[in-house]
Amino acid sequence: MPPIAQYVFNGVVTGGILALPAVAFSLLWRLLRFPNFAVSTYLTVGAYVALVLNHGVRASIELAWLGALVVTGALALLVDRIAFRPMRDRRPFSLAIASIGVAFVLENVVRFVWGNDFRSYDVPVTRGMSVAGLRIGRDQLLILGVAVVLMALAQAFLLRTRLGIAMRATADNPRLAAVKGVPTERVIALATLGGGGLAGGAGVFLGLDASIDPLMGGGLIISVFAAAILGGIGSAPGALAGALIVGIMEEVGMLVVPPTYKTAIGFTIILAVLLVRPTGLAGARS
């Protein structure tokens, strides 16, 4: 048996990628009061946007990543305008169902344009290095690093900037925020843009780490959902912690249950959290 530390590290990398969509999913849920399942599809969209840039115009992967961030954010905004904004006052359940519909449409647009086949970026795979008995991939380290920086930026934005405070205020009570003069629709647009961007960027990471196919993002939704619930809806650090825990449990869980039950681990976490501590780790009210 390899040291458990290797599994934990593997889980940290998985969790790092998971954290970006989990934070986006969690914040948007709090802000707009419904779980937006289309967020997982933004990963797929981001991965394909970067693919087009990387293969089509031969952009470096760094540039393609930035492009994916911007384009996916813009797409998320467009989707919000077309699909969710007209439904702003509907019940969360209706909006959640609408988001599943949006995810379905986006996924099929991707299939229609790029086909069902998987793709890969024009980036060589590198051998991992050995650090203190741990096998650590360079790409994974880089992905983890960028994910952590993005999380820190998101958190700094939310805590330190006026707009960030306004976003949290809008999430708390949109009517009161409006009474105080906060332009809530613009705050929502900004959050959608940022959330879509984070998810799109994570999609590129996922494509680099594994491969790109139309179902890549949709397949993650259970893990993203579990991370957001575990962290407490609306808490960015909570979602980060939730993502890391889900990632680690999925990997370390292999020591206890067969690998074919990986997805079941996410479900189990969701169930356990809902039963034991519905407010999640951060304990924010929803």
Binding site: R162, I165, A166, R168, A169, A171, D172, N173, R175, L176, A177, A178, V179, K180, G181, V182, P183, G234, A284, R285
Partner: protein, 235 residues
């Protein structure tokens, strides 16, 4: 003289039904005006309509002569009218200080100085400036809600039942602050369940029933009116 707030023949409501039926009232500069009346009289709806949360169907609202009928919340708050809802009037997951920052949203310029000035009025908020508003006591929360409203240096404050749900000692404290704010020259339109207290506090008052003004007059006069006493003050 132009009134601070002039409401003329205002009708408003939710869905298909009107709550306010051609209601008229005015508040003059620096005046403390109370609105009393039974449950369902339309007191809260009146404030929400003035704040821009409910769209008026007909009538006219003017603030210092400027027509703000049907204006958005942003424009209304920017023109000096500030509304403090009865419930959910602070952001629970934000700190006290952050709440004040949002309170000053439309006038960010001198936010810090104003916050200091406002906190002078409510010293307890200075002690708890880093606490999350959700952890404040009911009285502290009410202070914070008023403090937030003062952050934009409004000309007119709309207070929706600031004493609701508070212990008598705290109620007194809240009314003291209301009086103090008014003494600084702010117009206040105060909606209260506690009619006795608010009639004692105000210069003038309106009695609302079924979305219409039933009576109006000086606070003391209304309090001594046997008809009003019988109907709204419980004998």
């Amino acid at each position: 003289m132009t009134a601070l707030l002039e409401v003329h023949e205002l009708s408003a409501g939710y869905g298909d039904s009107d709550i306010l039926h051609g209601l008229s009232l005015r508040v003059d500069d620096g005046e403390l005006v109370a609105v009393i009346g039974p449950n369902g009289a339309g007191k809260s709806t009146l404030l929400k309509t003035l704040a821009g949360l409910v769209r008026p169907r007909s009538g006219r609202i003017a603030l210092r002569g400027a027509d703000i009928t049907g204006a958005g919340t942003r424009r209304i708050v920017a023109s000096g009218l500030c509304y403090v809802p009865q419930e959910a009037n602070v952001f629970p997951s934000l700190s006290v200080w952050e709440n004040l920052t949002i309170g000053a949203w439309t006038a960010p310029g001198a936010s810090n100085e104003r916050a200091r000035a406002v906190v002078d009025l409510f010293p307890v908020l200075a002690e708890r400036r880093r606490a999350r508003a959700g952890t404040l006591s009911g009285g502290e929360r009410q202070m914070l809600a008023m403090a937030m409203a003062l952050m934009v240096e409004p000309r007119l404050l709309l207070l929706d039942e600031p004493s609701a749900g508070l212990a008598p000692a705290l109620q007194r404290l809240v009314f003291d602050r209301v009086r103090e704010i008014n003494a600084r020259g702010l117009g206040i339109l105060l909606v209260e369940q506690n009619a006795r207290e608010s009639l004692a506090l105000c210069q003038r008052a309106y009695v609302l029933a079924m979305g219409r003004v039933r009576a109006e007059g000086a606070g003391g006069a209304l309090r001594d009116d046997p008809e009003i006493r019988r109907l709204y003050l419980g004998g």
